[in-house]
Amino acid sequence: MEKGLGQVEGGAGDPAPARDEVLSLLRNGSGRRPRFDPGLAGGLRAWLEDGASDLVAARGDDAPPLFLGPRLMWGEPAPTAGPAVALESTPYSIELVRSCLVHTLFRQIVTTGEAGDPLNDALDALRVDPGRVDLVRQVEEMTTETRAALASSLTTHVTNLMNLTPRFESGWLPRTNDRVAIPLAGGRIVLSGVFDLLVGAPVPHTATLCALGLTTGGRWAQARTALHYLALLETLRSGTPPFRIALLHSAAGRFGVEDVLEEHLRSIVSHVAVRLSTLEPIDGVLHDRELVHV
């Protein structure tokens, strides 16, 4: 692949839709799917189990399961972001609100290929989820100015997503919000995450899936790390990593595509193992809603 997630590609103003190039990059050379050692996943898991052992011992047998998402990687205090979380009775930050709405619109675009009025569509979609009642209410109670600013920014995100998001044939088996949850230490620690979009059918020992991630305004490097984290979880789930990953930046209209290499997995598993071994047992209070899905 000549493109990489370290590079950032064309925006909404290009004459040809960037989604054609994203699709082309995902398909390029797809007849030469790499095969992976069947023992790879077992080795990666053993590495993580080692990293988790001290933390599990320190937290004790009676501690509830500790759910850790990609934010584990950069050690930010929960619960600042992530489309599925907020503390009860704590208002969502405007960044989190925007992220939730844009992720919802991304699902709609993948599913239907279109979006109408972005704010109305996003709210209509979120009303289908009883877990989003608070978020919907918060948006409904915004001042006219705040709501207009939010609607305006959503229009920018949606315009970019319409330009960036490939229209996958149904035979590619596109599925959104595919959750992965890998238990360690007999379920005392759960590494979890959500693929914004997966395409392809799994084939044993052969990398066949493509994963697309969406970032709504965070740092590119962090979003890339989060995708590598998800690639690691997929390796642990199915035995084989995704073949290729793409990152779409809905605020800037940028994208990047790269192959998943064994060195990516070894790097990220090393990073996760170190983070696990350095988490303080007191971090156990960060279980449940706070770290789930971040």
């Binding site: 239907t112 996003a122 009883p130 149904s170 596109p174």
Partner: protein, 292 residues
């Protein structure tokens, strides 16, 4: 528990030969129709202000869950993208297995269109889910479709369907009605039901259950309730062979072969669940009839 990291492995886990011990236990399993109904009828005694009990996997899971997991299970039921995904996803997978559609996306779209048409045009009786779907705006329907497509795709990619004998049954619940007490019925929920064969070529039934939530120590007891129900039906259908619980989130599987111990564990799980029902006031919800 183990990992089923490919469709071939999961399919083999599902339909592969039974252990010799399970085969040895089969007469005892089939004879359990003599004693299990009486034991369960004794448990389902009439109580003031309580009608009949229709026990579901949701009730069993809730009753057996450790305290720190129980909170999530008590939300009142309402239709949502999450609670419709299984029903719509099963219709989609059924249509794929029957070669009526060619992708989960197509199958889910047909399922939603049929549901909305039923509610609006009355071509067939509309369910409450149909009516709820018919009232959604396009963006709401889109997220329902997206959620169901993901659910269906995960199941569709999980098995080597060509390796299953004959056409599997997709998502048909089995209900066991107590012959001694009109107060008790128990549901056996499985997403895929098929047939396995032992070394002598004799068939037995196999059942794949899609699991959600965290891995939990009680899952074997939950699946044992299915084993018990299938054992009660085994005298007038295929002898029961195996229950496989599968977590799509992690790829983990837990296997319960229908032997004497599994039937006893199922009875015990029902007893504990009924005790929980008894202890709860108001009665353990009529909610959450749809597994998510």
């Amino acid at each position: 528990m183990s990992d089923a990291s490919s469709p071939h492995v999961l399919t083999e886990e599902l339909v592969g030969p039974l252990s010799p011990l399970t085969l040895e236990d089969r007469p005892a399993v089939l004879e359990s129709v003599e004693w299990v109904p009486r034991v369960l009828a004794d448990l389902a005694v009439p109580r003031p202000r309580r009608g009949s009990i229709r026990l579901t996997d949701h009730d069993v899971r809730t009753a057996l869950a450790p305290p720190d997991h129980a909170g999530a299970a008590v939300l009142p039921f309402s239709w949502s993208a999450r609670t419709t995904r299984r029903a719509l996803g099963l219709i989609a997978v059924r249509s794929l297995v029957a070669a009526e559609t060619r992708s989960p996306v197509a199958g889910v779209r047909v399922a939603i269109a049929d549901a909305v048409r039923s509610a609006r045009q009355g071509e067939r009786p509309a369910s409450s889910m149909d009516r709820w779907l018919a009232g959604l705006p396009p963006a709401g329907l889109a997220v329902v479709e997206a959620e169901a497509v993901t659910w269906a795709t995960r199941l569709w990619c999980a098995l080597d369907w060509g390796d299953l004998h004959d056409v599997p049954t997709i998502g048909r619940d089995h209900w066991w009605d107590s012959p001694h007490s009109s107060l008790l019925a128990i549901r056996s929920r499985a997403e895929v039901r098929s047939v396995g064969f032992d070394a002598e070529g004799s068939p037995f039934s196999v059942h794949l259950v899609v699991l959600g939530g965290p891995r939990r120590a009680s899952v074997r007891s939950e699946l044992s309730v299915l084993a018990m129900v299938e054992a009660q039906k085994g005298t007038h259908s295929l002898p029961p062979g195996r229950i496989i619980g599968w977590w799509p989130d992690s790829g983990h599987v837990v296997k319960v072969e229908v032997d004497r111990a599994a039937v006893a564990a199922g009875v015990e799980a029902v007893a504990r669940t009924l005790a929980r029902v008894e202890a709860s006031a108001p009665p353990l919800k009529q909610a959450a009839r749809v597994a998510v």
